[in-house]
């Protein structure tokens, strides 16, 4: 069974249809790369999955359960959206770290707030906090920031910020981790260190959806590639096929730039 099924998602802003009938599925442990030019709807798709936008049509299923169905208002209750969001993690292009918290504080904030809602929080406060902190320290160590835990975001490089943002998303153990152009705000050198972290996650079979303009990376890390254009999926398949032997004219055109550059 697929961990994620997206069926016929549509989204319009005013009269502009940004997503037109998007369907795909993703298996557990797989990495899906979404490529395409700016304005093709990639980011909106990720925002729909994370409930930052409400699709006008379509169904989103995670692990077989319906998270969102545009035809069923019972799946759209404001009170349940918070919980549903936790199936997904999202790493933003502009990091969006909380500036008043250290790297460690950024990773710990949401798990701490969630823990406060547990009935046993008051009794075991010290123990729960220690547990959350240990987990956050482990995550930051894994991504190579063990000596920057107490730094504030403005004291970190862009690459380090983005790695903290990845750790922050991982701390909530999402089923599917989404990346929205995670390296677009970084210079090539810093891009490398972030891509390395994402590759590391792929190696331990983290289910991920990555919107990116880094074609070599998309090809390398992905088990599935989707090429989007004008709000539709033009081509979809394993990376060897989409990059090596694209069938769609628009895909060929888009990738020719990238192939020339190589």
């Amino acid at each position: 069974m697929s961990i994620l099924e997206v069926q016929h998602i549509r989204k319009s802003f005013g009269n502009t249809e940004v997503l037109k009938d998007i369907s795909f599925s993703l298996e557990e442990g797989q990495v899906l790369s979404i490529i395409g030019s700016s304005g093709s709807g990639k980011t909106t798709l990720l925002r729909c999955l994370n409930f930052l936008e409400k699709p006008n049509g379509g169904v989103i299923k995670v692990k077989g359960g319906v998270l969102y169905d545009s035809a069923d208002p019972a799946t759209q209750l404001e009170s349940q959206i918070r919980e549903k969001r936790l199936h997904f993690g999202l790493v933003f292009q502009s990091f969006n770290l909380f500036p008043q918290y250290t790297a460690l504080g950024n990773v710990m904030l949401a798990p701490t707030l969630h823990a406060k809602e547990r009935p046993d929080y008051k009794q075991n406060k010290a123990q729960i906090t220690a547990q959350i902190e240990a987990q956050a320290r482990d995550l930051l160590t894994e991504i190579g920031l063990e000596d920057r835990m107490d730094s504030y975001p403005h004291q970190l490089s862009g690459g380090q910020c983005q790695r903290v943002a990845i750790a922050r998303a991982l701390a909530l153990k999402p089923d599917i981790l989404c990346f929205d152009e995670p390296t677009s705000a970084l210079d090539p050198e810093l891009t490398g260190e972030v891509l390395k972290v994402i590759k590391g996650l792929a190696q331990v079979h983290t289910t991920m959806i990555i919107v990116t303009h880094e074609m070599a990376f998309a090809r390398d890390v992905a088990s599935q590639v989707i090429f989007m254009d004008g709000g539709t999926i033009c081509e979809q398949g394993p990376p060897e096929q989409v990059f090596g032997n694209p069938r769609n004219e628009r895909t060929k055109q888009f990738l020719s730039r990238y192939n020339e550059d190589r």
Binding site: N50, F51, L52, R82, E83, R85, L86, F88, G89, L90, F92, S94, N96, L97, F98, P99, Q100, L109, A110, L113, H114, Y152, P153, H154, R168, A169, L172
Partner: protein, 228 residues
């Protein structure tokens, strides 16, 4: 000269009592206007149109008219029009009327500063919080609020310094604040009359108090420099 030295402690005694009333009005206004301003700010940003409309009209009226008129109307209107002396005749009544006028007036100014401060926090901060499963109130308290305070501290400092001096407007309803106390020596009080010099000393009180405020607010601003 001997006479001056004799009068000095009497004058300072009276000015001190007046200044206490000034400070009381200052602090009560801040304590009331800080939270009320936030309520009005949320009101004017409300997605429910009638509420945002009402909040905006209130802010427009209060910011568009002099505080002195608001004071006069609030203090005299109930008595003169409805023949209801809701404030009573004494100093306590005058203080209550002055405090209410000041709180309403300053909360409207604060609300606009808050609104700017909230809107100056990037949208991505809220989205990051939402994606992490935080509620909107958690996001406000744990993410947005401190960034907003940092952003609004300079304009709020300005308002606070203005408020120190604005308290003197309460003189118009005969609140016995420091200007009233200083002026009383012109007409005659404590056996001193025709003296203008006590009034100069009132200015010194404002100056020193604003100096202290400037230093404190500067320290607070420094304290929030640990993040950007």
């Amino acid at each position: 000269m001997d006479k001056f030295l004799e009068q000095l402690p009497i004058v300072f005694g009276a000015l001190n009592i007046g200044f206490l009333q000034t400070l009381k009005l200052f602090f009560v206004t801040l304590i009331g206007a800080f939270p009320l301003g936030l309520v009005i700010a949320f009101g004017s940003m409300s997605r429910f149109k009638p509420i945002s409309y009402i909040a905006k009209v209130i802010v427009w009226i209060i910011r568009g008219t002099p505080l002195m008129i608001q004071l006069l109307i609030l203090y005299y209107f109930p008595g003169l029009v409805f023949h209801q002396a809701i404030w009573g005749g004494g100093e306590n009544g005058r203080f209550t009327a002055a405090a209410i006028s000041f709180i309403i007036n300053y909360s409207c100014y604060f609300s606009e500063i808050y609104r700017g401060g909230i809107q100056s926090v990037p949208k991505g901060q809220e989205e990051a919080g939402l994606v992490l499963g935080m509620t909107r109130s958690q996001i406000f308290r744990h993410v947005t609020l401190l960034q907003m305070i940092k952003n609004i501290l300079p304009p709020i400092s300005n308002e606070i310094l203005t408020l120190v001096k604005d308290t003197s407007l309460a003189r118009i309803i005969a609140l016995q604040e420091i200007i009233w106390a200083g002026q009383s020596f012109m007409k005659g009080s404590h056996g001193i009359s025709g003296a203008i010099w006590p009034l100069f000393f009132t200015a010194l009180y404002y100056l020193i108090w604003n100096g202290i405020m400037t230093v404190l607010l500067g320290k607070l601003e420094k304290k929030l420099e640990y993040f950007r």
